[in-house]
Structure formats: C-alpha cells, structure tokens
C-alpha cells in the first residue's frame, strides 16, 4: 500500500481525475484503509468547493471616477521634468564630497607652504561640483528640480483626502 505522504501528493490529481487507472486505484486502496487521509481528502474536496462559491464583493460606486482621477493626476505629475528629489539630494551631497576632496588635493600638492585653512575659490568649487554631478549642477535642471519639489507639495495639498485616508488607516491598524 502507498504511504500517506504519497497519497497526499496525489490528492489534487485524484480530485481532478488526472491519475492513471493504476494510480487511482492505489489511492483508493489507501483511502479505504486510512481514516486520517480519508478525512483530509474529504475536507479538501469540501474546501475547494467552498472556495469556488465564496461570496464576491462589488467594486465601489465611485471606482471608475476615482480611477480616472488617478490616471489624470498621474499624467499631470508626469508632465513635469523628471528629476527626482532623491537624486537631486544625492547629487548635491556627492558634489560636496568631491569638492572637499579636490580642495584637500589642491592644497596639499601646492609647492609653496599654504595656510592650513584656506577658502577654495568659487571656480574650484564649481569645477569640482561639475565633475561630481554634471546633472545636479546644471542650472536648468536645478530649477526643474525645485519645480518638481514644489509640485509634489502641491499634489499633497490637492489630495488632502487621500493623505487623510492613510492616516485613518494607520490609526485603525494601531487600534487593532
């Protein structure tokens, strides 16, 4: 007789009638002698039947309207130049780091003794910034990033309800 594990591994094929005649009769033989497996098989058959007939839910009445708003909102955001806030910040911090390194390299390689602390010229800093991140230091993109930040703030004020919903959800979850 086949083992319980083997019988259970054939459960779905048995239920869906995809076993060979020999395999089917070996499962049936096992079930006739193993009450535990018989109970599991019966339970699973009942359960799959229940899953098929679970009550379905309907989309809310304003589903389509909300979807339209969401699509429209997404496209109005996408129309702004794409420079992310995160990228902008990293660009700046990277540039600052390179500027500091360049400053130290220039001052330590100098043939004449220099004061320990010496302000770098604007030209050196600008050059270092450009090397560090040409994108972040393009003036046009900087202003575009500012516009993007401003617009992200606007989108929050435009959708206070959505933000509010998220807050409510979090509060509910804490309660639970």
């Amino acid at each position: 007789m086949i083992s319980c594990d083997t019988a259970k591994s054939m459960l779905s094929d048995y239920m869906e009638h995809t076993l060979s005649p020999d395999e089917r009769s070996s499962v049936e033989e096992h079930l006739s002698q193993c009450l535990e497996c018989k109970r599991v098989f019966d339970d699973v058959a009942f359960l799959t039947q229940k899953l098929r007939t679970l009550p379905s839910i309907q989309p809310s009445e304003n589903f389509d309207g909300q979807l339209r708003l969401r699509i429209a909102g997404n496209y109005s955001q996408a129309s702004h130049p794409v420079v992310s806030r995160k990228g902008f910040t990293f660009g700046l911090s990277g540039a600052a780091l390179i500027a500091v390194i360049t400053f130290f390299v220039l001052t330590t390689n100098s043939p004449e003794p220099q004061p320990l602390i010496q302000p770098a010229s604007n030209q050196v800093i600008n050059r270092a910034n450009q090397i560090a991140s040409p994108i972040a230091h393009s003036k046009e993109l900087q202003s575009a990033s500012t516009a993007k930040l401003a617009s992200s703030n606007d989108s929050l004020t435009e959708q206070p309800q959505k933000v509010n919903q998220n807050n409510i959800k979090l509060v509910d979850q804490v309660k639970n």
Partner: protein
C-alpha cells in the same frame, strides 16, 4: 481607425481581451474602459482574498489599471491579456503583504490583529441565509490569510478564480510541475490551518 465603441454598438460583437488591448495600444481609450469594466470585479475579488481588506484591495486594483494605462505598450500578444493583468495585480498584492509584514514587525499593538474581524460581506440580503455559512466564510478567509503569499497566490488563482495550471504557470512565472505541486501543498496547508482554526473556536 474605426473606434471600438462604434464597432460594439453596430455589430453587437464582443471583442476579445486581446483585440481590446491591441486597440487601446493604438490609442482607443474606449477599449481601455471596456477592459476595466470586464476585469474590475474579478481582480477586486482576487486581490481582496489576497490581502484581506476591501479598501486596500480596491486601491491595488486601481493601481493595476493605472499601470495598464501607463505601460500598455509593454503587453505583447504572446501572452494572454488575463494572465498579464493578473500578474500585475498579484505582484502588487504581494508587495502590499510584504509592506504590511514589515509594519507589523515594528508595531507591538498588531499582535492583536489575529482577532481582527474581516469585513466579509453577505452574499445577498436574503434573511434566510444561514449564519453558519457566514461564519464559515470568515473562517475560510482567516485560513487563507494564514497561508504564505506563494501558496495563497496559486490557490486563489486555481480554486477561486478558476485558472488552468498552464495559465497559473504563466501568471506566477514558474514551471507547470511546480504550479501543480504548489497548488496541492497549498490545499493541504489550507485544510490543516482551517482544522486548527475550527478547533480553537
């Protein structure tokens, strides 16, 4: 291009999903509306059973359609539209569960969440509907919630949504043999969890 709307009105023919997405890719937004109409309910029920919360499920389904709208050109005819859209929804649902799990780890108060009462709706307003059935539905949802996402996904696709094993393999992106054994193990696990929940009551 002849608009889908006029074709449907004139001929009364029902276009296939693949015809609709092809028309949508050519810029016919009415075809998109028809796809939303066709899929919003089945997708909502799939995602609802996946994440266990109605509001969250509706949000995920909306996000699924938004992605369809934005990424329509990524669809290729080699796949069935239904498997493509269920792949998007399934991935979003799994992401939501992962996010929730992270949040749960951070919040001690969520230890009480196992006692949460899910808003399983009544099938209809028939007062004769037996209370037992409603209780069973709730327990079944609790047992579904206990499944790991990989088991949950395949059992919902197979037993609730009625997809074939081949379609599930396409949606989940795993071999056919793995789908079959995973569905089998998911059914056994669900039976075990349900048994445990019934005994606890």
């Amino acid at each position: 291009m002849v608009k889908t709307e006029s074709i449907v009105k004139k001929t009364g023919n029902t276009p296939t999903d693949e015809e609709l997405i092809a028309r949508f890719q050519q810029g016919d937004n009415y075809a998109f509306d028809l796809l939303v109409k066709r899929y919003k309910e089945p997708l909502l029920n799939f995602v609802y059973r996946f994440v266990g919360e109605r509001e969250e499920a509706e949000d995920i389904v909306q996000e699924t359609f938004l992605r369809l709208f934005k990424n329509k050109h990524y669809y290729r005819e080699i796949a069935k539209f239904s498997t493509w859209i269920y792949t998007i929804a399934g991935n979003l649902a799994k992401t939501e569960l992962r996010r929730r799990k992270r949040r749960k780890l951070l919040s001690i108060s969520n230890f009480m969440s196992s006692d949460k009462d899910y808003d399983i709706p009544d099938e209809d307003s028939n007062p004769e509907r037996e209370a037992n059935t409603v209780i069973t539905d709730k327990i079944i949802q609790k047992a579904i919630d206990k499944l790991s996402p990989k088991f949950k996904q395949v059992i919902l696709l197979r037993d609730v949504q009625g997809f074939s094993y081949e379609e599930i393999a396409e949606i989940v992106g795993i071999p056919l043999g793995t789908v079959k054994s995973r569905v089998n193990r998911a059914r056994l696990k669900l039976q075990e969890d349900l048994q445990q929940l019934m005994n606890e009551q």
